[in-house]
């Protein structure tokens, strides 16, 4: 319960802070570059997730952690 309340408080603080951040639509030329996409190399990322899922005890974080893999 404490964790949920902490997360809710942190989220609301972050969101209120976020409203003063950002750029206008015409300032997005750099952000629109392919290499600035959050997931700019999805094939590499998926291969890596599969390797580390099968070799380590952790998964997930940036996306769902299920692997559809019987390797661990």
């Amino acid at each position: 319960m404490k964790f949920i309340m902490f997360t809710a408080l942190l989220s609301s603080l972050l969101l209120s802070g976020c409203s003063s951040l950002g750029v206008k639509p015409w300032e997005r030329d750099v952000l629109a570059r392919d290499d600035m996409a959050l997931e700019s190399a999805s094939m590499d990322s998926a291969f890596d997730d599969h390797i580390y899922f099968s070799k380590e005890a952790s998964s997930g974080g940036k996306g769902f952690g299920g692997g559809g893999c019987g390797c661990n």
Binding site: R33, E56, S59, G66
Partner: protein, 445 residues
Amino acid sequence: MKKQPVSATASAAKSKKNVGSLLKSATGCLLGATAMAGAQAESVADGWEADVAILYYNETDRVSALEPAIAVKKTFDDESVVGFKLVLDALTGASANGATASNTPQTFTRPSGNGTYTSSANETPLDDTFRDTRVNLTANYEQPLEDRMNKVVWGANVSREYDFVSIGGSGTFLHDMNQRNTTLSMGFAFEQDSIKPVGGTPIPLGEMKEAGSKVRTGDESRSMVEMLLGVTQVIDAKTLMQFNYGLAVSDGYHNDAYKITSVVDDVTGVNVLSQDSGSLTNRHLYENRPDSRTKHSLYGKVKRFLGGDVADISYRYMWDDWGVASSTVDMHYRFNMSPSWYLEPHVRFYTQQAADFYTTSLTETQANALVANNGELTSDYRLGDMDATTLGLKFGFLTPNGNKSSIRVEYYNQTGTASNVIGQQNSQDLVPDVDAVIVQYNYSF
């Protein structure tokens, strides 16, 4: 020219790709459009983007894998996106069975129950029969909602191996706000796995039997549900940030059916002889993990444009109710050498704390108590204390016809730490390093 607003999560509309007629036909086949002829087939395939890749993974003296993959997607006029991905995974080689190195040669029964394999004295026992082929198909559909500030991404996943079948689905809702500078996301996923170990499912905490014995049970299953909450924020014209919280709850069979634990003398650390008729000479117990697991993860990422280059740094903290806790730092730096090529070094550091029930081996006294109490057990080094490092370099370039291509080479090292080391085991390398090389080629069109 008027600039288009860009969502914080979706990077902007991509330039239209050149698609060779042969490859267009291949894409059309994937869509079931083979019946269409001539210009009609051409129009269906038009607008599809494809990524093909092949990855080679090789561990020194252990597993090697070859993984070809193809992903296709199309963005429609209403901004909806549909995508499919097919991955094949052919694995061969040797895999640690969990038993510890000993000062004498050791014999083990193959997973099928038929035949044996032997490890030399002072060598980590490896099961050299490991061989599998995995086929994985995923489909995604990105559906913008009416006001274009919201969208839903649906996903489906089917995966099949020789001893494992998995189906899963997901749905993620994304909401843009603050002039699309902030994106909130909430997603749910489920997965249902069927586990069919070669030779049947061994009895947890049961002893490894000699070849020919068939003391096994039937197939097993596992289910998992996940939730992922995320915030993506544009900080300034050159910086993006992302935060996620993930929760995954799984229920069912979590054992690796092929992993065992060595039982050794309380003082000398020498393998104990089995008292059970039908068992191997030395006593080895099959692992017994809990039948449920709850995992949490916190993930943060910063991406920044620096004078023409791009820095990408992320951190993940993951913990679960098995006692595992891990930290991962992942860094990429893309040097854009010219508009047509780049170099991208990659560094990843990973450290994990062992599961509460991990032990490198058991003493006879510990083993007897564990069996009497049906305790939890694994000697799978992947659940032990571990540090891992990845070093890589990627070279990306545009082909003469303007398509993206890249090759990357990475080195991956795992260093584990043994626990519960007894007597003669002090002179053994109980958890040897695992070293792997990864080579991958990508081509987009």
